[in-house]
């Protein structure tokens, strides 16, 4: 039996997928391409012709401001769709780019339409994924508006840890985190200098460890308490301590290569 992909792992939290549903999804994501790091997948103003799915690596949603600075509003990890329903809106109101090298599947819109017409459980799972994206955005709004910087950073790491674990992309307590300091600062809406200072405090307090492009969370409960993090907004059926599907996938395949 083949190993479940990050997409199947993720969507199995949103609906009870049958074997046929899983096979159909696996067929859709078969045609993968490698995209270099820091490459735009689609730019603000363009009309999307394809739905992009991240299979490995990190991508992000961003906007460029008038002064040339950038704001990153979402991080997309393996199993995440970049723009599932954006065709309904016509033109992109933001851009999507890879952060690390990514494996990306470009799915033609008619393929998605056929999928949703024939597979109602998959449709439900895709709705779930879209609603979870909105929930994450709400949480980020609270995070940026109301949490102090250290908590805000800690909260982001809690979230990513749980999301990466859900799709089988953690290695023990560690996961790939390919963002540069500038990219993380643009994600949090703070200056790079302030970010460096805050990361140093988190490191000194033993809450988070950084080695190269890998983040380690020694104690998720402790970091969660510090950040005020609860995973409820990710709407997982079971917390990813027990993966919903058996893990036969070699670790590390999902990170940037």
């Amino acid at each position: 039996m083949h190993r479940p992909s990050p997409l199947v792992r993720k969507l199995s939290h949103g609906a009870r997928l049958s074997r046929e549903d899983c096979e159909r999804l696996a067929a859709v994501e078969r045609d993968r391409r490698i995209v270099a790091p820091r490459t735009d997948l689609i730019i603000e103003g363009e009309e999307p012709e394809h739905v992009h799915l991240v299979v490995s690596g990190y991508a992000c949603r961003y906007k460029t401001l008038d002064d040339g600075s950038r704001s990153i509003m979402a991080l997309l990890v393996p199993g995440d769709f970049c723009d599932l329903h954006v065709a309904i809106l016509g033109r992109m109101d933001h851009s999507i780019a890879t952060v690390s090298e990514c494996e990306i599947v470009r799915i033609a819109r008619p393929t998605i339409e056929r999928l949703t017409e024939r597979y109602p459980t998959v449709t439900r799972a895709l709705w779930w994924a879209t609603l979870v994206d909105e929930a994450v955005l709400r949480e980020w709004l609270v995070n940026m508006g109301r949490r102090k910087t250290n908590q805000q950073i800690a909260h982001l790491f809690c979230e990513l840890y749980v999301r990466m674990r859900t799709v089988g992309c953690t290695d023990g307590n560690s996961f790939a985190f390919p963002l540069t300091q500038d990219e993380l600062a643009d994600t949090l809406g703070i200056s790079t200098v302030h970010l460096n200072r805050s990361l140093q405090k988190l490191r000194e307090d033993g809450l988070v460890e950084f080695q190269g492009r890998v983040v380690t969370v020694p104690d998720l409960d402790r970091l969660s308490r510090y950040a005020g993090f609860t995973a409820n907004y990710l709407h997982l059926r079971v917390l990813p301590d027990e993966p919903p599907v058996a893990d036969e996938r070699p670790r590390g395949r999902c990170g940037p290569r």
């Binding site: 250290n150 300091q181 703070i190 200056s191 790079t192 200098v193 302030h194 200072r197």
Partner: protein, 91 residues
């Protein structure tokens, strides 16, 4: 592009920057040093009537090239119970 290091003191704790930031101009360097102060201050305040936040910027050779500070100075003008409706502080 040269790299600079920002040592920040919030009046209680000093952090020595080990990561640094690349800056391509004097304005960018000054901007980075100045803009971090209100960010740090908004984390730490309100806390006291007096608080000074400083940043000292080192170059890659370890020589300090720039200093900036941001001060809070709060004073009661009339803290009597009559004026505020609150009990005055015990002294």
């Amino acid at each position: 592009m040269p790299r600079f290091y920002f040592d920040i003191n919030d009046g209680r704790r000093e952090t020595h920057d080990a990561v640094g930031l690349r800056c391509d101009s004097r304005d960018a360097l000054l901007g980075a040093a100045v803009s971090v102060l209100p960010e740090v201050a908004s984390e730490e305040l309100p806390d006291n009537m007096r608080r000074v936040f400083t940043v000292k910027v080192r170059n890659a050779a370890g020589r300090y090239v720039l200093y900036a500070s941001l001060s809070l100075a709060a004073d009661w003008l009339d803290e009597s119970a009559e004026a505020t409706g609150f009990a005055p502080p015990e002294t």
